[in-house]
């Protein structure tokens, strides 16, 4: 008999069972030899081992190496049922149980663990001749089953932890007559749950509860590894480094997670990592992975934008409260990221959409510049500050403002707004300024970021503000200065009220959102670079984002002025706040201002224009 002469070709059913690759596992050498010989006789390609561990390793090494597994029930190093479960869970291969014992209870157990078949030793050649049917059957119902399985498995996992399953699944399986992982989970009907056996390896583990914290770690690990390829349970488990957690726990949880992500709508998927959604998965996921994902952020931005404009915008709402937090988060982990994201978001945003427009104009320009340094981060900073402020709105507003093109400015403002916890409203005001701007976009961004981290958001805001500040400073150093000076003075006086107003305004007009509040926010040292870059960008932006700007302009330069003022106020406030509160980025407004002033020479006319156009001080 030639064995293995024909490779199993799944598509080629004519040849099929010939060459079917079987893995035989039995601790009894005689039985194993017999089995091996018989299987060879059936023209299967046999691999035999007397150790379950070895078998598992072989299976894990290459999941496509075998079509079918035949295993003895009674083995010293691992219970056959346990092996059965693992194989089904990880490799989804049909498994046939073998035993000298034909006790009905054992047979039931085998079935409930997901065995395709249960053979009693000594096995006859004829019986082995038909085992290929299980492979075909499984393949045929594979996709369907898999979906069900995963769903059920997910459900099962949820309900019963790793190994347990619900009787219903068992029933269903039985009805379907398919080998199913679910069956495995269902354990046994009444027998011991999980694997009963003296073998510690098969002892049932206590059910794992996936707490938020645990899940967060899980997602962190998954994202770190790379969701698509590298996130295998073993590695995830290692990364998580949680005691008492087994690979199987992680495996089942991963499966659920994957299902979860699949079910999310496209955007959601994008946002998911960012944690846009409130689901545990999302939140956690986003925390870990979202921030890094520009696209996601951008997407979020998109989401946000729309959201911002509309009250239902949850993010915004959330921003209000946890917003600060989120913003922080967003920015925190990756300033640059956020910046870019923001930048991106801008482009994404369309002026048309209320909020989305936020960054639309800006993104292009900002992108260029922002990525660079902190310009975007400025926006980020914005968020940061906003976080700081507690009011997501603020941050969003600020961001929006930033996006408007004043990103820097707005960010500054926002930052300032953010800075002031009390000024929840102020920022908003600033954001109002930049209506078309991307602040909205940023907001979504921030929102997502928000979800992710407070700190990030904070950073975001700060950064943005800084950037804005830089830019504005650069460009309109003089202006800024003036503004700073004058505005500040005025603002100071006003600040409280302005702030409140701004916030108030922002609150009322979500659409406005970010406007240039943060013009003056020499938050970061980055200002230098940012400013330079920003200046250029501003030009671009201004030119490019004319629309939004125009919109802003419509309001009138006065608006800008006022905004500037408000921005100033905010800025000042922020500065003050920052001194006290601002954890990130700019340490003190003074520093920033100084920096800005130093840079003064770099002012770019464009920026000024831009600022004006954007009605920098649109209206604080």
């Amino acid at each position: 008999m030639t064995v293995g002469e024909f490779r199993v070709d799944k598509e080629n059913y004519d040849n099929f069972p010939v060459g079917m690759r079987v893995l035989a596992v039995d601790d009894d050498l005689i039985c194993l030899k017999l089995l091996e010989t018989m299987l060879s006789k059936c023209q299967y390609e046999v691999t035999a081992t007397s150790e379950a561990r070895v078998a598992l390793n072989m299976l894990r090494e290459n999941k496509d190496r075998f079509d079918l597994v035949i295993s003895d029930v009674h083995m010293p190093d691992m219970d056959g049922f346990k092996l059965l479960e693992l194989v089904g869970l990880e490799m989804d291969l049909p498994v046939i149980m073998l035993s000298a014992n034909n006790d009905a209870k054992l047979v039931m157990k085998g079935v409930s663990h997901g065995a395709c078949d249960y053979l009693v030793k000594p096995v006859r050649l004829e019986e082995l001749g038909n085992i290929w049917q299980h492979v075909i059957r499984r393949k045929k119902s594979g996709s369907r089953k898999q979906n069900n399985q995963s769903v059920d498995k997910g459900k099962d996992n949820q309900t019963s932890g790793e190994v347990n399953g619900s009787p219903s699944t068992v029933n269903r399986d039985l009805q379907n007559g398919k080998c199913n992982r679910k069956r495995k989970e269902d354990e046994d009907e009444g027998e011991d749950n999980g694997n009963d056996s003296d073998d510690p390896a098969t002892q049932k583990k206590p059910r794992v509860v996936w707490s938020v914290e645990l899940h967060r770690k899980f997602v962190a690990a998954v994202n770190q590894l790379g969701y698509e390829k590298e996130a295998v349970p073993k590695k995830i488990l290692d990364l998580m480094n949680v005691g008492g957690l087994t690979r199987e726990n992680v495996a089942s949880h991963l499966q659920k997670y994957r299902l979860y992500l699949k079910k999310l709508p496209q955007q959601a998927n994008m946002a998911a990592p960012l944690g846009v959604r409130d689901t545990a998965f999302m939140r956690l996921g986003s925390l870990d992975g979202g921030l890094r994902d520009y696209r996601t952020l951008a997407g979020l931005g998109r989401l946000r934008n729309t959201a911002l404009s509309s009250s239902p915008y949850t993010m915004l709402g959330r921003l209000n409260s946890p917003a600060n937090i989120n913003l922080h988060n967003i920015t925190h982990p990756s300033h640059t990221h956020q910046n870019t994201a923001l930048a991106r978001m801008h482009p994404v945003l369309s002026p048309s959409s209320q909020n989305p427009s936020l960054f639309q104009g800006t993104p292009s320009s900002f992108d260029a510049s922002i990525n660079d340094s902190g310009i975007f981060t400025g926006a980020n900073a914005f968020t940061d500050t906003s976080n700081f402020l507690n009011s997501t709105q603020q941050s969003s507003m600020m961001l929006q403002g930033n996006s408007a093109g004043f990103r820097n400015q707005s960010s500054q403002n926002m930052a300032s707004f953010n800075q002031e916890p009390s000024n929840g409203g102020s920022i908003i005001g600033s954001s109002n300024l930049m209506e078309p701007n991307s602040l909205l976009s940023t907001e979504p961004f921030m929102n997502s970021a928000r979800e992710n981290n407070l700190t990030n958001g904070h950073y975001l805001v700060n950064n943005s503000i800084e950037n804005m500040a830089l830019v504005s400073l650069e460009d309109a150093r003089g202006n800024v200065n003036e503004r700073l000076g004058g505005e500040r003075g005025q603002n100071y006086g006003h600040t409280p009220s302005n702030n409140s107003n701004m916030f108030g305004s922002i609150n009322t007009t979500t659409t406005h959102v970010p406007s240039n509040n943060g013009i003056v926010s020499p938050f970061n040292r980055r200002l230098d670079q940012n400013i330079g870059i920003l200046n250029q960008k501003m030009d671009m932006f201004l030119n490019g984002g004319s629309t939004p700007m125009q919109q802003i302009n419509d309001n009138g330069t006065s608006v800008i002025e006022s905004r500037a003022r408000s921005n100033e106020n905010l800025f000042l406030e922020q500065h003050k706040l920052q001194g006290g509160f601002a954890p990130q980025n700019y340490d003190s407004l003074d520093d920033l201002v100084n920096a800005v002033f130093k840079r003064g020479d770099e002012t770019t006319p464009n920026f000024d224009c831009g600022l004006d156009e954007f009605s920098f001080g649109q209206d604080l």
């Binding site: 008999m1 010989t37 006789k41 000298a100």
Partner: protein
């Protein structure tokens, strides 16, 4: 030679030493595995020695660990039945029954029987295989595929 061999085999079956499983093994014998049955049996006797020793040791303990004994016997039964050692298998089953009943004496008695059968079969098969080797090729040729 062959006739003798056939007769031997027949008597083994008639006496209940071997059952159909043995024939299954013979059917697996082919050009690739010319001495398959003999190999299996040899492996069995080598491998089961350890198991028999374990059981004996366990039987000397007091009180008897029936679960363990049952487990050993399960293994032993599996191996024995895999090549068709009918009488040995029967004794194994009986032993397990005693274990489940908690019948220590029954276990010990049965085990003695089991050992006897085990040894007897070994001898008989040794003779058989000797003949088979001598008569080998012809036999294979005769066997329908």
């Amino acid at each position: 030679m062959q006739k003798q061999l056939a007769k031997m085999k027949q008597s083994l079956f008639d006496q209940g030493y071997l059952d159909e499983q043995f024939i299954q093994l013979e059917e697996l014998q082919d050009d690739a595995n010319p001495n398959f049955v003999e190999e299996v049996v040899t492996l069995y006797y080598r491998d089961s020695v350890r198991l028999v020793q374990n059981i004996e040791q366990a039987l000397e303990k007091n009180p008897l660990d029936f679960a363990k004994l049952d487990s050993y016997m399960h293994q032993f039964k599996g191996s024995s039945s895999s090549f068709g050692a009918k009488k040995v298998k029967t004794e194994c089953t009986q032993f397990r029954d005693h274990c489940r009943a908690g019948n220590a004496d029954g276990c010990k008695r049965t085990f003695q029987e089991l050992k006897k059968e085990y040894a007897t079969l070994k001898k008989k098969l040794e003779v058989y295989f000797q003949f088979a080797r001598q008569a080998g090729p012809v036999e294979k040729a005769c066997r329908p595929k």
